[in-house]
Amino acid sequence: MIKPIVRGTVWIALLLSVALGACGKGGKKSEDSTATPAGSAGSAGGSRAVTLQLNWTPEPEFGGFYAAAHDHLYEREGLAVSIKAGGAGVQTWKMVATGAVPFAIAEAGEILRARLKDADLVALYAVYQTSPQALMVHKASGVTSLGEIFTSGKIKRVAMESGLPYVKFVQKRYGFDKVEVVQHGGNLTLFLNDPTMAQQCFAFAEPLSAKEKGVEVSVFSTADAGFNPYLAVVITSGKYLADHRADVEAFVRATRAGWKAYLDDARPTNDYLKTQQATMTIPAMNAAADLQKPYVVGDEKTRYLGYMSEERWKTLADQLHELGEIDQVPDVTKAFVNIESK
């Protein structure tokens, strides 16, 4: 629960927001579909009802969470988890910071920035050990590196989502002088019809959809270029963690088990994802699940699924500070908690 004074402030902020007009971006809107299997919604059977707010529509990026829901792993931990789909512009961290939901998916940079603005957020579980953030181009364009997208003149237009830290990173490194940089609206239409265009993507998601539509693409990772944040992490608030430590640990345990199950065999979960309004086709999701495995499993430094290292958080904080995304380097040790695998 938030304090009365904060609640009053929320009301004032809401009123002011109404006066200011809608600030949300176009594109996919948040959906309320829950992913809790039939019969387990709410607090059935004495389970504690909690919500996980996603920052995008259901797809293999969230496969482990849906696997945990589909295989009743959350229920076994005493939790009735409702998974809510998100979309472009959904600010999940604000929902956690205001107490609207206990768990959400956010990006590590968002967490560091929000913590500097008094949002008491804590990261609990990193889905990807390597950031799958990438830019894709038509193979026929002849582009062979991330830098060439911006400097070679072969690409005329690049679609990226404004406000994401990697945009600043590539702008600072390569400049936007030779390309027209447009808003990424979340669909492929523009890209598929323009061979001189590059588009933001997850290395294993949109390229598969483009291939299904007959366009061969080349994909260039921003992690390879030196910007490798934890791109999808489970967050909660410091208060929720302090008050419901057992539930948080149970949630992370079940999530880790869900990801193990999804890595072993993604197909049953992908069939289930399709019933949850996933936009990708089942074959594309199966292929994406295979392709994302190395991003999830990580390397020898990854102690267990979901692990986060202080070194990686510190590197990100330094990079964001250097890019002018944050005005000071925060104490990153308070930004995350590893709930160890038993």
């Binding site: 002011l16 961290w93 936007f176 940089v181 239409t189």
Partner: protein
């Protein structure tokens, strides 16, 4: 006479200024008193401080949006008045085409904007068209209504003196419709700003042509409330400036003969 005008102007300006100062003062005090989390609310003084610190960025964004607004509004004024006059020339034409102009008002801009990016260059070009689409309808309807409202005996008098249709239009109908057209342009001026800013959310450019809409999106995403408020305030100033310009044009066009522009 001049002193009286200054007094009138001051009498009109002081009440809203006092209200604004009082509201901003209460807002500032509330924030200082309650000290809310910075991602939820910021004080007006923080908005001013951040806006000053990033004045160059905000100035460039305001200019880009203003250019798109000006193009969109100018286009909607020219096309809107022309279409309004055209529709007024024949009841059949009006019945056939008017419903399609209503579509302009009902189709959500965010649904059209991605198509504009396919057909046009993103940035000022696509955003100008967004501003045009949103602001066109009131100009058409008000022009149509104004031209249609000319009393029939006046038209017949023109005919009696052997006036040709072009003379009836330019000497009677259009001048007579000016008050109504100006009312339409007043509405369109505000809508053009809304159309441009919302258009930038989807069809904006992130580089040199970034406008206030992109600043709003980035600030909202990053929880930069002072920048968000500053960008919204500048969009509002842009809207006020547009409406002010139309009001000024209306005054010069009508102060000699129309009751709405005469001094009290």
């Amino acid at each position: 006479m001049t002193a009286r005008r200054v007094r009138d102007f001051a009498a009109r300006l002081v009440p809203p200024l006092c209200a604004a100062v009082a509201l901003l003062g209460m807002w500032e005090l509330w924030v200082r008193w309650t000290n809310p989390p910075r991602f939820l609310l910021c004080a007006p003084s923080e908005i001013v401080r951040d806006a000053m610190a990033r004045a160059g960025e905000l100035g460039a964004a305001t200019w880009n949006t203003a250019v798109a607004v000006a193009w969109g509004f100018a286009l909607s004024a020219v096309v809107g008045i022309a279409v309004g006059v055209l529709l007024s020339s024949s009841r059949l034409l009006e019945r056939a085409l008017y419903p399609f102009t209503v579509i302009l008002q009902t189709v959500p801009l965010v649904a059209i904007a991605p198509m504009l990016v396919i057909w046009l260059r993103a940035g000022v070009q696509a955003v100008s068209v967004c501003a045009f689409i949103v602001s066109l309808f009131p100009v058409i309807t008000n022009t149509l209504s104004g031209v249609r409202s000319i009393p029939q005996p006046q038209v017949e008098l023109f005919w009696l003196y052997g006036a040709r249709p072009w003379a009836v239009l330019t000497k009677l109908k259009l001048p007579g419709a000016v008050p109504s057209i100006m009312a339409g342009l007043r509405i369109a001026a505000g809508l053009a700003v809304i159309g441009a800013v919302v258009g930038e959310f989807v069809a904006g450019e992130l580089g040199a042509e970034r406008g206030l809409g992109i600043v709003v999106v980035v600030a909202a995403r990053q929880g930069e409330l002072p920048m968000l408020f500053a960008a919204v305030a500048l969009a509002s100033v842009l809207g006020i400036a547009m409406v002010g310009a139309v009001n000024m044009a209306a005054y010069f066009l009508m102060y000699r003969w129309h009751v709405s522009e005469r001094p009290d």
